[in-house]
Structure formats: structure tokens, C-alpha cells
């Protein structure tokens, strides 16, 4: 058993029991971050803040939401939006944050791709990040079911249908997932459970893993520089703060993070109060009606690119392409065969691959929402084939890449 002495202060008392000084050093003051980073490195903190907003607003909404097919729609649109003080505010915060969180996730992802932050020991950061993306997608989808509007119902119908696997006709699996032949009470209650318990718990666990995965390889930097963290930390602690290539997580890095967060929150609350329509689809303000299919069924904007990879093909090929799109990003560290951990601008053909991928995903996103007719179908098909082609090309062009 450890040796305890009479405490001289509350801090000392806690220190003997929880080693708070050591924890503070490990987590904050001697957690070293490279100095040569830009504001894109703050996206992690922006995501943490957005997740906190989702969690807090979600807790308030949970106090009035009723997961029942007869009352769900009115509990949201009447009780929360009209009767509960500031219920409308929590709902708009929750809805807008659910949409904006994906914008930040995509920026965070493409930052990682551009700077090669998934290579040389950072593979687990990338993999845990992609698992978080999957968990957030499931969270977004399950949450979208809850207001039980027309889009909730029909998106639930379409997405669960995917599990029939086309020609496999696994209709039993679809029924098992729905708990019924069509989305109904069992469906709503289980998605409610997933949304408020199982997936949030998984997300919190994955966030822990994602942070933990950063510790050993350290955060990447914007110049692809191989920093000796021990030497640089030593330099910093000896007082050469300006000469050292590293900074403390807190308060150095945190001060910059919070500045970016502050700008972000201005943008965020502008959307919440003045421009929330993009995040709260009009169609979902009609109550669910299994006898009335909406004229256009489309997912929220952040799923559109993968939806468009599904859509231009025949059922079976479409499903295979869709499955490919879902898993391929997680494979990135192993498909990129180049040893260079430098920004894409210094990586030969990969530079073009990066921008082509980004533009292609935006084209897919746009086509995923537009009606699949005429020129839009053709553009969608070309963009979907380009997406698959780019991933096939990736190992080849990165193998050809010269050592930077």
C-alpha cells in the first residue's frame, strides 16, 4: 500500500490520491504539440465543442421527446417547439450541430489526407477516426428517425432496405432490423435506444481511443518535418520557448484552439438563429405517412456522396459500389504505398489525386441530391466511376512516388 502523509493542502491531499500534478503534466502542460501547425489543427477541438453542444442539447430534448409513433412528431413540433421554454433553441442547436459536425469531420479528414497524417505510426489515429465517422453516421441516421416525419419514415424505409442485399433477397434480415415489415413502433423505439444510448457510448469510447492513438506518434505538422519531441521539449522547458519546435498542449495550443473555436461559434450560432433551413429539411415537417411517398427522397447532405455511388448502377453493382465506398477510406494508410509523410503539394501525382478526390466527392454530393435524370445521371455515373478509379490508382501512383 502506498504511503500517505497528512495533507498540507487540498491540492496535496488530491495529489497523494490522484496524482493530479502528474496527470496535469501528462495531459496538458507536457503534452507536446508541434508549433508549425495552422488553424486546421484546431478542428479536433472544434469537433469536441460541437459534440458537447450535441450532447447537452440532446439531454434537454430527451426530457420531452416521446418515442411513440403516435406522439413522436407532436412531442417534437408541438411540445418542444411551442410549449417548452427554449425548446426550439435546443432543437435548432441539435439539428444544426448534427449537420455542421459533418462539415468539420470532412475538413478534419481531408486535412489528414492532405498532410499525410495517417502514415508512419499514425495509422491508428486514422482508423479510430474513420470508426468515429461510422459511429457519427449511425448516430445521425438514428437521430433523423426520431421526429417521425415523412423523411424519417422514408429514409428509414430506403436505408434499411439496403440490407436486403439486392439479389440476395435477405428480406428476413430487413425485417429483423426493423422489428416489423415496415418502419413502425418497434423500429422507432430501437433507433431511439441506439441514438440516445448505444451509439453515444460507442462514440465516447472511440473519442478516447482517437485521443490515445495520438500520444505515441504525436500530432503531425504542416511541413512534414520529423521532430524529435524529447529534444525540443527539453529546449522549451529550459526557457527557449521561441526556439523550440514544440508547444504545450495547454495553454499554448489550447489558446489557439479556443480562438478558432470562438470564430467557429459565431458561424455556428449564425446558422442556428438565421440560417437553419439547410439542416432541418422541410419535408420532415410533414408527419410520417406510409401511404404517401415524398416526390424526392434524399439523405442529408453528408451522406449524399455515398448515396450517389449507390444510385447510378443496377441494384447489385450499386450495392457493391456502395459497400466499397463505405470501407475504402479506412484502408487509406495501407493503400498509400509512399513512405513520404509530407503535404500533398510535395508528393508528385498524389497532389492531383487529392484535389481530384475532393472535387469528385463534391460532384457526387451534388448529384446525390439532384433528381437522377438526364445529364445529372450521367455526371453521377462518371463521378462514381471516377471515385472507384481513383482508389484503384492510389497504390500505383504512390508506389511510383519518389522519396521526398
Amino acid at each position: 500500500m502506498a504511503h500517505f502523509t497528512k495533507a498540507t493542502s487540498i491540492k496535496d491531499w488530491l495529489n497523494q490520491r490522484l496524482a493530479i500534478e502528474k496527470v496535469e503534466k501528462v495531459m496538458m502542460s507536457e503534452y507536446w504539440i508541434p508549433k508549425n501547425i495552422n488553424f486546421l489543427w484546431a478542428m479536433g477541438m472544434v469537433l469536441v465543442i460541437t459534440f458537447a453542444l450535441l450532447l447537452v442539447s440532446g439531454i434537454f430534448l430527451l426530457m420531452y421527446y416521446q418515442p411513440n409513433v403516435n406522439t413522436a412528431f407532436d412531442s417534437v413540433n408541438y411540445t418542444i417547439m411551442r410549449e417548452v421554454d427554449f425548446g426550439w433553441l435546443w432543437r435548432h442547436v441539435h439539428g444544426v450541430a448534427a449537420s455542421v459536425v459533418f462539415l468539420i469531420i470532412y475538413i478534419h479528414m481531408f486535412t489528414g489526407i492532405y498532410y499525410g497524417s495517417y502514415k508512419k505510426g499514425r495509422e491508428m489515429i486514422w482508423i479510430s477516426g474513420m470508426l468515429l465517422f461510422v459511429a457519427f453516421s449511425a448516430e445521425a441516421f438514428s437521430g433523423y428517425m426520431l421526429p417521425w416525419g415523412q423523411m424519417s419514415y422514408w429514409a428509414g424505409m430506403v436505408i434499411t432496405n439496403l440490407f436486403a442485399g439486392g439479389s440476395l433477397h435477405a428480406d428476413g434480415l430487413v425485417e429483423w432490423i426493423r422489428g416489423d415489415y415496415v418502419p413502425a413502433q418497434a423500429f422507432l423505439t430501437r433507433f431511439f435506444m441506439l441514438h440516445v444510448l448505444l451509439i453515444p457510448v460507442a462514440i465516447m469510447g472511440l473519442i478516447g481511443l482517437h485521443f490515445g492513438a495520438l500520444r505515441i506518434p504525436h500530432v503531425n505538422n504542416q511541413d512534414g518535418e520529423d521532430i524529435d519531441f524529447d529534444v525540443e521539449a527539453d529546449k522549451y522547458l529550459k526557457g527557449d520557448k521561441a526556439g523550440s519546435k514544440v508547444i504545450r498542449f495547454a495553454n499554448d495550443f489550447m489558446a489557439k484552439d479556443m480562438m478558432v473555436v470562438a470564430f467557429y461559434l459565431v458561424f455556428f450560432f449564425y446558422l442556428v438563429f438565421y440560417h437553419y433551413g439547410f439542416a432541418m429539411d422541410a419535408v420532415n415537417f410533414d408527419p410520417a405517412d406510409g401511404l404517401k411517398t415524398p416526390a424526392h427522397i434524399y439523405p442529408e447532405w453528408y451522406f449524399l456522396w455515398s448515396y450517389e455511388i449507390l444510385r447510378p448502377f443496377s441494384t447489385d453493382i450499386g450495392l457493391m459500389a456502395f459497400a466499397f465506398a463505405q470501407v475504402i477510406f479506412i484502408m487509406l494508410p495501407f493503400l498509400d504505398r509512399s513512405p513520404n509523410t509530407v503535404p500533398a503539394s510535395r508528393r508528385g501525382l498524389f497532389k492531383y489525386w487529392f484535389w481530384a478526390m475532393l472535387v469528385d466527392m463534391i460532384v457526387l454530393t451534388a448529384m446525390g441530391k439532384l433528381p437522377p435524370e438526364g445529364i445529372f445521371s450521367t455526371i453521377g455515373l462518371v463521378a462514381a466511376l471516377t471515385f472507384i478509379g481513383l482508389w484503384i490508382l492510389l497504390p500505383i501512383i504512390t508506389m511510383m512516388e519518389k522519396k521526398a
Partner: protein, 315 residues
């Protein structure tokens, strides 16, 4: 090393805005038909040529034209000849009380309506006299004199008994123009009137039964039960509702919904009623929005100052 952050920020913003433009304004412009407002001008209807005489109009409305055979006029002390449920069983829908008609409906529209209801309401595809399909409202065939003059007199009378323009409330406009077909359960409005609070469950059930009976007649008349409009301001938006009310055929050719013939002012009141139902907290949202934005701007200033202080030694 030069600072690349402004360039990176511009790249992030451009890609974000392009994506936003494509999935929101552009995609919606491709998915939904856009109908320009006609400003409730009813340009297809002829402008009235005669000046109406109120006293003569009163005689006609209460007498020879037989309006009160079906319509109540509370303002003139004339109760409805039948209760709403019986009236709907007879005509499909309860004929409106005419007390507010002169204010809520456009005079041009009323003039045409009295002479040829199916034409003014734009439901001739449903009520074709040649096929023996009579509109439940019987056209006015004249009382022996100049028919245009007689119609003008009746319209003048209806205008004379209607409330003053400044007394038009959102509920009045909605109930007169929309409320006999559409329920708005967030405002406790049913097709047969506001649902009161009941002390006894039996009374409530009796009321609900009446509503259901009315709705059955309405369903048979319209082909389907017209939707509850509680959340329409969010699901359809102001522009759609206003242009749809102006001319439903523009969006849904062949729909059973009639052109309602409201004035531009009444349409605004109807929109206000729907906003009170489906976007109740809009004023609070705007006022709190300003305060939150100010707070966040102050936070930005402190965040910048803190960063500058911490990073002074790091450069």
C-alpha cells in the same frame, strides 16, 4: 516561412460554399417548380363594371338571390340554416357564414363566384354542367333586372357588413378562407370550429364524433381529407403557401382544392396564422439571436487576446 493560413481559409470557405450552393439552392431549384406570385390580382377575372348599391344588395342577398337558404350571416342576425355537420352531409362542405366575406375575399372574385362558382373557384374540371356535375353552390341566374348590376349590389352589401380592414385578425382570415376544410390541431382548430375544453369526457367524445362525421362528408366531397396545416409554414414555407392559395392549379393541375379568392391582405393574415401555429417562437428566436451573436463576438475578442498573450513568448 510565409503564413499560409489566409489561403487555406479561402480554400476551405470556397469548397464549403460551392457544396452548399449545389445541394441547397441549386438542387431545390431543380426539384421544385417555381411559381411567381401573381399578387392576388386575379387577372383572369373581369373587373366589375357597375357600382353596387348596398340597400338593393341587402334585399337581394336576404331575398331574391336566396343566399341565406344555405349561408348564415351572423353580422345581419341570420344564423346558419343548418349545423356544420348536417350542412357538410348535404353539400360536402359547410357553406361559409358571409359576415366576413366582403373583407376576406377579393371583390372581383366574389363577383365571378356569384355568377359561376366553379369558374371562380377553378374547379370546372370537377364540376362540368354538361356532364351533369353541379357545383353545390347554385349560380345566381339574375333577379329580373340587369344581372351585372344585381351582382355588384350584392357584393357592395357584403362589403358593407364586413368588419373594417384593420379589424381583420389572422384567425378570422384563416377560419373564413381555409378552416372549413383544413384542421390546425396545434391551434385546436377543427373543420367545425375551435375545440373547446370539456369537463365531461362524454361531451368531448360527442364533439370528436361530430368532427369525424364532418370529415367523412368532406373526404367524399374532396376525394381525400384535406391536410392538417399545423406545421405547413415549416414544411411548405411562406412562398409556396401564398402562391398555392392564389392558384392551386399552378402546382397541382386537377387538384380538388379550389382557388379561395382571398385578397393579398387576407393571405398575409392566413400566413401569420400559420406562423403562429408552426413557427410560434420566431420573434423570440430573432431577439435571442441578436444577443447570442453579440455575446459570441465578445468571446472572439477575448479569445484573440488570450491567444496573443500566450503566444507572445512562443514566436
Amino acid at each position: 516561412m510565409k503564413n499560409k493560413e489566409p489561403l487555406i481559409l479561402v480554400v476551405v470557405i470556397i469548397f464549403t460554399l460551392v457544396t452548399y450552393y449545389l445541394v441547397e439552392p441549386f438542387a431545390h431549384s431543380q426539384m421544385h417548380k417555381h411559381v411567381e406570385s401573381e399578387h392576388f390580382a386575379y387577372a383572369d377575372l373581369p373587373a366589375p363594371t357597375k357600382t353596387g348599391d348596398v340597400a338593393r344588395g341587402q334585399e337581394l342577398v336576404l331575398g331574391a338571390a336566396a343566399c341565406t337558404g344555405c349561408h348564415g350571416i351572423e353580422a345581419a342576425g341570420m344564423p346558419a340554416p343548418m349545423d356544420a355537420v348536417t350542412a357538410a352531409a348535404s353539400y360536402g362542405v359547410n357553406p361559409p357564414d358571409l359576415s366576413n366575406a366582403g373583407l376576406v375575399y377579393d371583390a372581383k372574385f366574389l363577383t365571378d363566384l356569384i355568377k359561376n362558382p366553379a369558374h371562380a373557384l377553378m374547379v370546372e374540371h370537377k364540376f362540368d354542367i354538361n356532364k351533369g356535375q353541379m357545383h353545390p353552390m347554385v349560380p345566381f341566374y339574375g333577379a329580373g333586372g340587369d344581372m351585372d348590376q344585381e351582382v355588384a349590389d350584392m357584393v357592395a352589401y357584403l362589403v358593407s357588413i364586413a368588419p373594417k380592414a384593420e379589424d381583420l385578425t389572422p384567425a378570422m382570415a384563416f377560419e373564413t378562407a381555409c378552416g372549413r376544410c383544413h384542421a390546425v390541431h396545434y391551434e385546436k382548430w377543427t373543420q367545425i370550429g375551435s375545440k373547446p375544453m370539456f369537463k365531461k369526457k362524454q361531451d368531448e367524445l360527442a364533439f370528436d364524433t361530430q368532427v369525424l362525421d364532418y370529415q367523412d362528408s368532406l373526404k367524399a366531397y374532396m376525394g381525400k381529407l384535406p391536410p392538417d396545416l399545423s406545421m405547413y409554414i415549416r414544411s411548405r414555407g411562406e412562398h409556396f403557401i401564398s402562391t398555392f392559395v392564389e392558384n392551386p392549379q399552378n402546382y397541382l393541375a386537377g387538384t380538388a382544392m379550389p382557388r379561395v379568392g382571398v385578397t393579398a391582405e387576407s393571405a398575409e393574415k392566413v400566413i401569420e396564422y400559420l406562423e403562429d401555429s408552426g413557427d410560434t417562437k420566431r420573434h423570440e428566436r430573432e431577439s435571442i439571436g441578436v444577443n447570442v451573436m453579440l455575446y459570441m463576438l465578445i468571446f472572439v475578442i477575448f479569445a484573440i487576446l488570450w491567444k496573443k498573450q500566450v503566444w507572445r513568448d512562443l514566436h
